[in-house]
């Protein structure tokens, strides 16, 4: 028996925070690749502390639905899950974006725990960002004539969060698909407030590298970019700002292809997922006009 536990932040205040976690868990449940799939949260239940005991399987794959390697993935989750042997070096990620997985015993259950790196720094995440751009523009070929801005939180508590943004920016730039790809941040330079200044193209797709929609992605960023004066009134997609058309995508974590990254993390840690990835990809294929 093998179980998948998807761990995420959750919220005491915002009921939508857990929605992407539930959605991706359900997509993976539907593939039947795991005997059990369970969600666990820092701020909701089951807690990180008690998640492992809620599954019956002896092999457990833990995949953090977090954007970067850092405070939560390196300190909070292993500590709360009682992975006493945890050593960040076991992930082999010296650059902060190359975490793999490591295997431990947890102190409160008799199970083998495969602790995987966060979804946010997996290379497939670049594809999810591109897919998000396709979804928001409704154009599966989107790229030529478009700029792409990837928005991060900034260094505040965790310098690795910026590394994840730069990592995907670089990778997508190398794809040569968009006219321009830039990293912007909420609380450091280059700031998302000035996003239009960084692009020559008229059209700019803006994708926040966030797991869930919340105050940052639904209130701060749209207001900071000048897409709306009052978030309560919503924002247009696309919206006109300084002679640019801004296609604001909302949190990348809500994109259904994210489930694929979760699966990929577990598979790389040794989970037997059969053809589950193909099934997720089919399920989350963008609906193309005329199809």
């Amino acid at each position: 028996m093998q179980a998948l536990v998807i761990v995420a932040h959750g919220s005491h205040l915002n009921p939508d925070s857990s929605t992407p976690t539930y959605d991706h868990a359900d997509a993976i449940r539907a593939t039947g690749a795991f005997d059990e799939v369970r969600e666990a949260f820092w701020k909701e239940e089951p807690s990180f502390r008690e998640a492992l005991r809620t599954v019956e399987a002896e092999e457990v794959y833990v995949v953090p639905l977090f954007i970067s390697e850092g405070y939560f993935t390196e300190q909070v989750i292993p500590r709360e899950m009682r992975l006493e042997e945890w050593d960040v070096a076991d992930w082999g990620s010296e650059d902060g974006v190359s975490a793999s997985s490591a295997t431990y015993e947890a102190a409160d259950v008799e199970k083998t725990i495969h602790y995987c790196g966060p979804v946010g720094t997996h290379e497939v995440m670049s594809d999810v960002i591109v897919r998000r751009a396709e979804s928001v523009t409704g154009d599966p070929e989107v790229g030529a004539g478009f700029g792409l801005a990837i928005v991060g939180h900034g260094t505040e508590r965790n310098e690795n969060s910026a590394k994840a943004i730069h990592y995907h920016t670089e990778r997508i730039r190398e794809m040569g698909r968009f006219d321009q790809v830039e990293a912007v941040f909420m609380d450091e330079e280059p700031e998302v407030d000035d996003v239009t200044e960084f692009f020559d193209s008229e059209d700019i797709v803006v994708v926040p590298l966030f797991v869930a929609d919340g105050f940052h992605t639904q209130e701060d960023i749209p207001e900071d970019m000048g897409l709306t004066d009052d978030f309560r009134e919503g924002y247009p997609v696309p919206g006109e700002v300084d002679g640019h058309r801004i296609w604001y995508a909302g949190a990348v974590g809500t994109e259904s292809l994210m489930a694929d990254v979760v699966l990929e993390r577990a598979a790389e840690a040794g989970a037997d997922i059969g053809d589950a990835r193909t099934r997720i990809e089919e399920r989350s294929a963008p609906s193309v006009a005329g199809e």
Binding site: H12, Y22, E44, T54, R79
Partner: protein
């Protein structure tokens, strides 16, 4: 009972069977078949079959627990047995009760076990407040995953960050769950309660007391270590008593220092301060950093009591129940507005500045 169950039982007899008063053993003289009502010895295989057929409830009961539920050591297995009181009631008595439905409560959940064909149990799960309501009057669910959404908002549409707060929404029913789906659904509504309940019954509940939890915190929560025992008691009184959270609080300040706050009455334990309690504790620590001061207020005795009544109304979640024109209730909106208009001033209550030194 059906033929396949009897066959399976005869096959299992070689290894020996013992469950809920049914005992089958292979002895030198043949099989021994025993229920509380009868004992047969020296049976051949076909005689064993006949004996089994004469005790159909014992056969289907054995089959249900070993073949349908399985996982003999699992919390799921133990929980399903608890639901029908399997350890306390003999098979015939239990089957009589199951035929009309045997109901247990788990927090605000009401679980009714019944018998379907061949002794297989089915379970009806709903809010206790919907106990007698007809299925047609309730929103019907079959998928355990729906339970996450049932648990998200209370009856007034407010988000429920704590799953075991006694504010579970009413008006829904799972009329026909099998055992596995029942436990899954309960675990979506009240995560980890079944497992922790089972650990406690086995004497293996791993309690983490407040000091240990506090010590482990990092980042913005590392300050919760600073909570005094008095403040911790107030915090448990604020968050953990049954009117706020149905889990039975088993943690204390530390192993030696029990908190003088009721633990609660429910079956399922709380083994460690939860994230909500830790977040609240963080706020309480910062509140505790302020020194008290003396203020002078000019209030009538009734006004003083009115203010206390308003605090109670908010603390007890009673505000929404106060009738619009109930002017006898000090927490009534008109009464509160009148008090503010009369006694509030530029500097707040009784026009007494919060920081008088700023106004000298």
């Amino acid at each position: 009972m059906n033929d396949a169950q009897v066959e399976a039982l005869v096959e299992a007899a070689e290894e020996g069977v013992e469950i809920d008063g049914l005992r089958i053993a292979q002895e030198r003289s043949g099989y021994r078949f025993e229920t509380p009502e009868r004992t047969h010895e020296g049976l051949s295989g076909s005689e064993l079959r006949t004996a089994a057929e004469e005790s159909p409830w014992f056969v289907s009961n054995w089959h249900y627990w070993t073949h349908v539920v399985g996982g003999p050591e699992s919390a799921r297995h133990e929980y399903l047995r608890w639901v029908e009181g399997a350890d306390d009631h003999a098979v015939p008595e239990r089957y009589e009760a199951l035929s009309t439905g045997l109901t247990r409560e788990w927090g605000q959940l009401s679980i009714t076990a019944t018998l379907a064909d061949d002794g297989v149990r089915r379970y009806d799960l709903r809010h206790v407040a919907d106990g007698d309501r007809a299925e047609e009057d309730l929103e019907t669910h079959v998928d355990p995953l729906d339970a996450r959404r049932i648990a998200t908002y209370d009856d007034d549409g407010r988000y429920r960050p704590l799953s075991t707060a006694p504010t579970l929404r009413t008006g829904w029913v799972y009329p026909d769950l099998d055992g596995r789906a029942l436990v899954e659904t309960v675990e979506f509504l009240y995560p980890a309660t079944v497992e922790n309940w089972n650990r406690e019954r086995r004497g293996e509940l791993d309690i983490t007391h407040f000091r240990e939890t506090a010590e482990r915190q990092t980042g913005i929560y590392s300050i919760v270590e600073g909570l005094s025992v008095e403040e911790l008691e107030a915090a448990a009184e604020a968050c953990c008593v049954d009117s706020q959270c149905l889990k039975r609080r088993m943690w204390d300040e530390d192993e030696e220092t029990p908190l003088d706050v009721p633990r609660g009455e429910e079956a399922f334990p709380c083994r460690e301060p939860c994230s909500l309690l830790v977040t609240a504790a963080r706020k309480f620590v910062t509140l505790g950093r302020e020194e008290t001061r003396s203020y002078e207020f000019e209030l009538t005795p009734t006004e003083k009591e009115q203010i206390e009544g308003i605090i109670d109304a908010v603390a007890d979640g009673r505000v929404g129940e106060i009738r619009e024109a109930d002017l006898n209730d000090g927490a009534n909106r008109y009464r509160a507005r009148y008090l503010r208009a009369l006694r509030g001033g530029e500097h707040g209550l009784s026009n007494t500045p919060t920081y008088p030194e700023d106004h000298d």
